[in-house]
Amino acid sequence: MLNNVGRPTRPEASDTESDLVETFTGNKALNLETPLIFDQGEPGRIGVDLPEPKAVKSRLGGLDREGAIGLPDLSEPQVLRHYVRLSRQNYSIDAGFYPLGSCTMKHNPRINEKSARIMGLGDIHPLQPTETVQGALELIHDLGEWLKTITGMPAVAMSPAAGAHGELCGVMAIRAAHDAKGEARTRILVPESAHGTNPATAALCGYKVDPVQARPDGRMDMEAFKAKLGPDVAGVMLTNPNTCGLFETDVKEIADLIHGVGGYFYCDGANLNAILGRTRVGDLGVDAMHINLHKTFSTPHGGGGPGSGPVVLSDALAAYAPVPYVVKEGDEYRLQENVEGDAEASFGRMKGFHGQMGMFIRALAYMLSHGSDGLKQIAEDAVLNANYVRVGLNDILNSPFDGICMHEALFDDSSLKDTGVTTLDIAKAMIDEGYHPMTMYFPLVVHGAMLIEPTESESKETLDMFIGSMRHLVTKAQTGNDPDFFTQAPRFAPRRRLDETSAARKPVLRWTPSDAD
């Protein structure tokens, strides 16, 4: 009897209701729906207590806002619940494995987060007098020194805000160097397997992109490369290790050849993870390389940013680096903020203020935690893990290129031929297995590509489980006795497959009041 205390037992469910599959609320146990923030709230509520404004005469020059903005009014607990519910519709690296090739989704340590919020680091203003921010300048300087040592390069530009922004920085430095010599070069050579931002970057710097095809072994075709060299070539943009997960073995020859025609060597550093402490790009002849701090040094991806993309530069390009930068003079740190004096050759400024300080702090915390020994171990374990996955799957999935891979393993869809199951179907079925899908259809040079990057922070147990899941899915596709299994995936995600075509054809990019009806 006591067991019933406090438990309402009425109203009793009717027979008809018990037949319903759908819930009244649209919720499914822990999977809780939340309406748009604009469909919630009640005018007059507030989620932030503010003091009453002093009574003053308006100094707005007669430009006072007229009419309401239309924002909903909610209490703090309502807002908290809204975003907690939203968060539960997301996959994350803290929840599970992201075998995302070319994206390096690794563990995000919380000491990095804590450090970025330290008083005196997270709350300082970029225009405080430099005497009051010596610690901040020292930190930026120290991080730059680590990046220079890791890459064996003499200079670094810290301000680019993301990887693609870093690419822009590197190619602008190349353009500025040619312009300074009075050379009007028109072409940039870019291998077919390059990231999509590479050609866009070159175009923004006024260059024509000249693609270079790949050899059957997945590296840039050296004969094709040589044939394209000439006095109008400004440089080459190479990703190394490349997007096929392979080290470009001819890298030193590439550097010599491009330098031989007066061009510069840009290296896309997205895959630095694979070579940390094993080789330095400075020793490979690179003139400029961006470093994605969020990839290699674990600043969190944040659902799409912010990133940070410092660029290391050779002696030939260092003078053209963007402002601002930190200069150490004795025990003091100075900030070179404008194009003047020592920075006269600088190609300019790329963003407001001084760079992504919040990301610098996180990246440096990560580097300090690892040290020289840990950085080397990162590369070793990342490459070991990728090769472990490669051999775990290469009897059932075709590897388009032979041999050892670097930090990511590439497969194609040829073993799914005639099954009716595509790379996309496998990816969506992986969601139901509890994984974020691997990178699909990239690199473009491989048909139905599946690019898998485990990173160093995944355990052997996770990899064994993942290999088992992949083997299960591929085998299931090949037996072909349950075609709906793949076309219906994902079944258990917060949403089933979404109609991306109609979203693009008739874009709805915001809520409007009439939608509320």
């Binding site: 507030i46 939203l86 225009l127 999509g196 659902g303 919040g358 040290g371 020289s372 709805v508």
Partner: protein
């Protein structure tokens, strides 16, 4: 080494499975002459306690604004960020999630972006907004590129009273393209002539409101003049809280509104990461740079969200892409959106009023000092003072007393005549009456000396 799970025994097992004798065999493709033998010349790994100690040491060498009189603005503003904001963005599912390219398991990020886009469009008075840019300055440069594409014209006019970093970033971005931007001279006392250079060659006029000196201006006539010759009006907002009190750029006829969203939800963090806002009219949607989130349905008919119109981006058209941007300030836009949701209509309006009232009160107290004049008669929460003494020296002397008393204009505009005596002062809800009085009396001592 605590982030790496393998034991020595497991590494041996795995190497054997891979079929190599040692880990060095995995790196055989690297040319022998470029291999690093041993370790890099850097310290070895540290414990969490050691890292924490080191980071605090960096922090202690800076003067934190907490609990001291603080009046610095100039494009980044100190506001109170409610505790809930930082708590929520540190939830794993937001913090450690990837870009939402797999929409079925990214609805949280996507819905938040859709709501962010709506909030930005609402406060700017525009039809649509994107999912954010790197920061306000890069958003400004992208706005000029977009205006050139949309009008098929090649020249932009930039107001002299635009934040110098915004002008410099725009110049840098355009320098190797077929487009160019002409900057008008700085007009510290207002009355800038933005219309006389207008012609059918001009793609856009870029103007900041409130301007770099804090001055508010009605841009409606400028918008009409731009539209008469087929040019677009780009309005820059560096203090987004002002939109709670001031007539929106959209209501004044802007075609593109870009801004810095840092004031809402994002800490100062010595200048980054921040969150660039970008909004425009419906008819320019396909010209807009950056990521966009759109509403759609899934195969069961449930509402859902996806990243959309990505053919404008680098993904497909490559060298024909509208920009090389392939990211947004995702987590910062989430922080902005959460803070904005907490404020709501009532709170956002009130926050703006509190800022304006405190700034007006402070301006009155400062201009009562001997020889101190207000340069701009209208303002929101930031204004410019003309001092009888060198402003940079004043800021240095105040800093010695642990008062962060504004930005000397000469720091950002070293070549502008008379800038030496100009001090840019910002006042937000974070300043107490006591701190304001401390600032006023410290400045009085300096100017009277």
């Amino acid at each position: 080494m605590r982030y790496m799970p393998h034991t020595a025994e497991q590494r041996r097992e795995m190497l054997e499975k891979v079929g190599v004798g040692s880990v060095d065999d995995l790196f055989a493709d690297i040319p022998a002459s470029a291999r690093v033998e041993g370790l890099l010349d850097l310290p070895t790994h540290k414990t969490e306690l050691e890292v924490d100690r080191r980071m605090h040491a960096y922090g202690r060498k800076n003067l934190s604004p907490a609990g001291i009189p603080f009046f610095i603005g100039g494009g980044a503003y100190r506001h109170h960020v409610p505790t809930v904001v930082d708590h929520l963005i540190q939830r794993s599912e937001f913090l450690t999630a990837y870009t939402p390219y797999q929409p079925e398991i990214s609805q949280g990020t996507l819905q938040a972006l859709f709501e962010f886009q709506t909030q930005v469009a609402m406060i700017t008075g525009m039809d649509v907004a994107n999912a954010s840019m790197y920061d306000g300055a890069t958003a400004c440069a992208e706005a000029v590129l977009m205006a050139c594409r949309a009008t098929r014209r090649k020249k932009a006019i930039l107001s002299g009273n635009l934040h110098p970093h915004y002008r410099q970033v725009t110049d840098t971005t355009l320098q190797f393209t077929e487009f160019s931007a002409e900057s008008l001279p700085v007009a510290t006392d207002g009355g800038e002539d933005l219309t006389s250079g207008l012609s059918k060659e001009i793609a856009c006029v870029v103007v900041q409101n409130p301007d770099f000196f804090g001055r508010l201006q009605d841009l409606s006539d400028l918008a009409d003049a731009c539209h008469e010759v087929g040019a677009l009006l780009v309005v820059v907002v560096t203090e987004v809280v002002s939109l709670g009190a001031v007539k929106s750029p959209g209501a004044m006829g802007a075609d593109i509104v870009v801004g810095e969203g840092q004031s809402i939800g994002v800490p100062l963090s010595y200048g980054g990461p921040y969150v660039g806002l970008f909004a425009t009219r419906q008819k320019y949607v396909r010209q807009m740079p950056g990521r966009l989130c759109g509403e759609t349905v899934d195969q069961e008919g449930n509402r859902g969200f996806v990243l959309t119109l990505s053919t404008r981006e680098q993904h497909i058209r490559r060298e024909k892409a509208t920009s090389n941007i392939c990211t947004n300030a995702g987590l910062c836009s989430l922080a902005f959106s959460i803070h904005m949701s907490l404020l709501g209509e009532t709170g956002f309006t009130k926050l703006a009023q509190v800022n304006h009232a405190l700034a007006a009160d402070t301006a009155d107290k400062l201009t009562a000092l001997r020889g101190v004049e207000l340069v701009n008669d209208s303002f929101f929460n930031e204004f410019t003072l003309r001092l009888p003494v060198d402003a940079e020296e004043v800021v240095g002397k105040l800093a010695e007393q642990e008062i962060l008393g504004g930005v000397p204009v000469s720091r950002l505009m070293p070549d502008v005549e008379g800038a030496k005596h100009l001090l840019l002062v910002a006042v937000t809800e974070t300043s107490t009456d006591e701190e304001i009085d401390q600032f006023v009396s410290a400045l009085k001592e300096i100017v009277d000396a």
